[in-house]
């Protein structure tokens, strides 16, 4: 088998290290998720019971169907909770390592900021900032490339949605200044 004709090579400069310590096991997360689901089932179940989960002369009340679903959800999460506690396999599995978590946060936090910025700056300006910033900070790509890519992508989006397809997006001061 020859490997001489490999032509496409992409490097990943900020790849997570393989030997990074674990932050949480699958079991821990499973338990937390089951507890949250149980709480959700209780809340929704109570709300539906209050709305009316019984029968009227015309048929089931509004809360009937979701009330029993909450019971099913609650039961399944309770079972899941017990199963997760007893599972040796899940305890030994890694949910996320520290290096992986850092990388996930490297996307999640900018996305969060992007959603926040969108409310004040409008979608297009926020997109420009997200793409340029992300490429530069996380991808370590040359500044001019980052800015150019962000500009072209945002412009294409603007032309496609705002001008060609008339899909209205949140806009901010820049668009207002340009009279759009």
């Amino acid at each position: 088998m020859s490997n001489t004709d490999i032509e496409i090579v992409v490097e990943d400069p900020t790849a997570p290290e393989a030997d990074s310590p674990q932050v949480a096991s699958v079991r821990a997360v499973d338990v937390v998720v089951c507890l949250l689901l149980l709480a959700l089932a209780l809340t929704l179940g109570y709300d539906n019971w209050r709305t009316g989960a019984g029968w009227e002369s015309t048929g089931p009340q509004s809360g009937y169907f979701p009330f029993y679903l909450s019971i099913i959800l609650g039961g399944a999460s309770l079972y899941g909770l017990v199963a997760a506690f007893l599972s040796r396999k899940e305890a030994s599995e890694v949910f996320v390592t520290r290096a992986q978590l850092r990388r996930v946060m490297a996307v999640l936090v900018p996305t969060l900021l992007f959603c926040l910025a969108m409310q004040f700056l409008g979608l297009y300006v926020a997109s420009f900032l997200l793409i340029a910033g992300f490429m530069r900070m996380v991808g370590k790509i040359a500044l001019w490339k980052s800015l150019l890519t962000a500009l072209v992508f945002t412009a294409v989006m603007f032309v496609t949605f705002d001008i060609a397809f008339d899909v209205i997006m949140p806009k901010g001061p820049l668009e207002a200044a340009l009279g759009r």
């Binding site: 088998m1 020859s2 004709d5 490999i6 032509e7 496409i8 090579v9 490097e11 990943d12 790849a15 699958v26 997360v29 959700l40 929704l44 709300d47 539906n48 709305t51 048929g59 089931p60 509004s62 809360g63 169907f65 979701p66 679903l69 099913i72 959800l73 399944a76 899941g80 199963a83 949910f95 996320v96 992986q100 990388r103 996930v104 996307v107 900018p110 996305t111 969060l112 992007f114 959603c115 969108m118 409310q119 979608l123 997109s127 997200l130 793409i131 992300f134 490429m135 991808g139 370590k140 790509i141 980052s146 992508f153 945002t154 989006m157 496609t160 397809f165 008339d166 209205i168 997006m169």
Partner: protein, 503 residues
């Protein structure tokens, strides 16, 4: 044949420059989505859905289904050239596809993959052409109890036949059904589970949830991985294509077997993933030379690809005929239909003939055009992978945000999308399947309406679900499927007890 005449009419609807152009655009976008890591069929369709909001339904669905075909084709490119399955159903393609590329036979493997995808889809589309009208005309006789029984069957088969832990499937499904119920109750107009919030009044939009669950969470998951890759570049010459096609008749048994498996698993909610593995394993088992599998055997590419595509296509059959999607992507297409005010289900064949036959015709045409397109443009798409993920990821985030916002013009939906992204990430990592959730969310209201209408009709008597032979057998089958693992275990232990007695 009535179906044939209607199909010809469908082709006539399609053959305009505008539709053909949209078709090409959809295919290119789809292949793009299939090639990129962190994006796949369902995400691509979900993210690109808003683009189609301003089109007429026929153009929109043609474009969306072409995105779907494109994504199916695209998944094969990365599996063969880079040993990275772009989609879960391409995993089996890497077993023999990548070794072939290593031996310098990448062009051959790609041609085999695309051709067999085409054959698989074609078989499934033919099945749809002749079976869907029959099923839907049969389903026109359905009343609310029958429909509820069919929904129940769908949900139960997910629990009983799914490979994930049963309670996790139940969690996923009941959560989806609950979230579908938030907001205004469609029967009585009463508000429920809104907790006084005006934002929750509208309910949880299906597409927003899907964009979060499949788009955002997929990026989070992809970022965890090491994203460096090495792969082969390949161009396909006409000579290679012809030589592969010349050998095609030799493998007709494999192709036929895989198409059959794919169609069967596509209609029942088993999905393309199971189909591709089953196609591969069966091809291996029936082969005279089993050891050569996994070392670059062309049959090992034919078998899974045919099955995956046949199943991906056949998943549209129950969606068109009954309004029940057979896969996650079909569920999203169904969500799209509802956005355009089309009510999926048997009535679609009566009320929107143009639309349905246009869609079916577009499946034929899209596959032919897609085959030609991928065969000629593989080198371009392979080089897309040179674009670093750090550039792709924020663009996907932006596209997701545009998609989520465009649906209802609500800022709240953006936050909802983000929330679903995190939920999807956690669910995927602890093994809660997302497909039942998607299905439950899109079918939730219809299932509840069907249930309540049948209850109103019968005066609250549960026996209505066994009131005649048809509804009774569907309901019974649903319950059998729900407890299938238990029944199966009991069955095999009985046979095990009997076998030693015989021997």
């Amino acid at each position: 044949m009535e179906a044939l005449g209607l199909l010809m009419h469908g082709f006539a609807v399609l053959l305009t420059w505008k539709t053909l152009l949209l078709m090409m655009l959809g295919l290119v976008l789809g292949i793009f989505v299939g090639v990129l890591p962190g994006l796949g069929g369902p995400n691509g369709v979900a993210i690109l859905l808003p683009l189609t909001f301003t089109m007429d339904p026929t153009s929109a669905i043609v474009m969306l289904s072409c995105i779907y075909w494109g994504a199916l084709f695209g998944g094969a490119i990365t599996s063969i050239l880079f040993n990275i399955p772009g989609e879960a159903w391409s995993v089996a393609t890497t077993f023999d596809g990548y070794p072939m590329a290593q031996q310098g036979r990448a062009a051959e493997a790609l041609t085999a993959a695309f051709t067999s995808s085409f054959i698989g889809s074609l078989v499934a589309v033919m099945l749809i052409t002749f079976l869907a009208p029959m099923i839907s005309s049969f389903a026109l006789k359905f009343g609310p109890p029958e429909f509820f029984a069919v929904y129940l069957l769908t949900f139960c088969s997910f629990v009983g036949l799914g490979r994930e832990a049963k309670h996790k499937t139940v969690i996923s499904m009941s959560l989806g059904l609950l979230l579908a119920g938030i907001g205004m109750d469609t029967v009585s107009g009463q508000l429920r589970m809104t907790f006084g919030s005006a934002e929750l009044l509208r309910g949880v939009n299906f597409l927003v949830a899907v964009i979060g669950l499949f788009g955002i969470s997929e990026i989070l998951l992809t970022m965890e991985e090491r994203l460096a890759l090495r792969g082969h570049a390949a161009g396909i010459s006409l000579r290679v294509v012809l030589s592969v096609w010349k050998d095609l008749p030799k493998y007709w048994v494999t192709l036929f077997r895989s198409s059959f498996i794919g169609c069967w698993l596509g209609i029942t909610p088993g999905g393309a993933i199971a189909a591709s593995f089953m196609g591969y394993n069966l091809a291996k088992r029936f082969s005279k030379d089993q050891d050569s599998f996994g070392k670059g055997r062309i049959e090992g590419v034919f078998a899974p690809e045919t099955a995956a595509h046949a199943s991906g296509t056949a998943a549209l059959l129950p969606m068109l005929a009954l309004g029940i999607p057979g896969s996650g992507t079909a569920a999203i297409l169904l969500g799209g239909l509802m956005v355009w005010g089309l009510n999926p289900g048997p009535l679609l064949f009566v009320e929107h003939k143009d639309f349905v036959w246009g869609l079916i015709a577009s499946m034929y045409l899209g596959n032919v055009v897609g085959l030609v397109l991928v065969l000629t443009t593989v080198p371009i798409f392979a080089s897309i992978l040179r674009v670093p993920f750090a550039a792709v990821a924020p663009m996907i985030v932006v596209s997701c945000a545009i998609g989520a916002y465009a649906i209802q013009n609500a800022m709240f939906d953006i936050w909802l999308m983000l929330g679903f992204g995190v939920v999807g990430y956690a669910f995927k990592k602890i093994g809660i399947p997302l497909a039942p959730f998607t299905l439950a969310l899109v079918l939730g209201n219809r299932a509840e309406d069907a249930f309540r209408l049948s209850m109103i009709g019968s005066g609250g008597d549960m026996k209505v679900f066994w009131s005649n032979g048809l509804v009774g057998s569907i309901t019974t089958l649903a319950i059998v499927l729900l407890f299938w693992p238990v029944i199966d275990k009991a069955f095999s232990s009985v046979t095990r007890m009997l076998r030693p007695a015989k021997a």
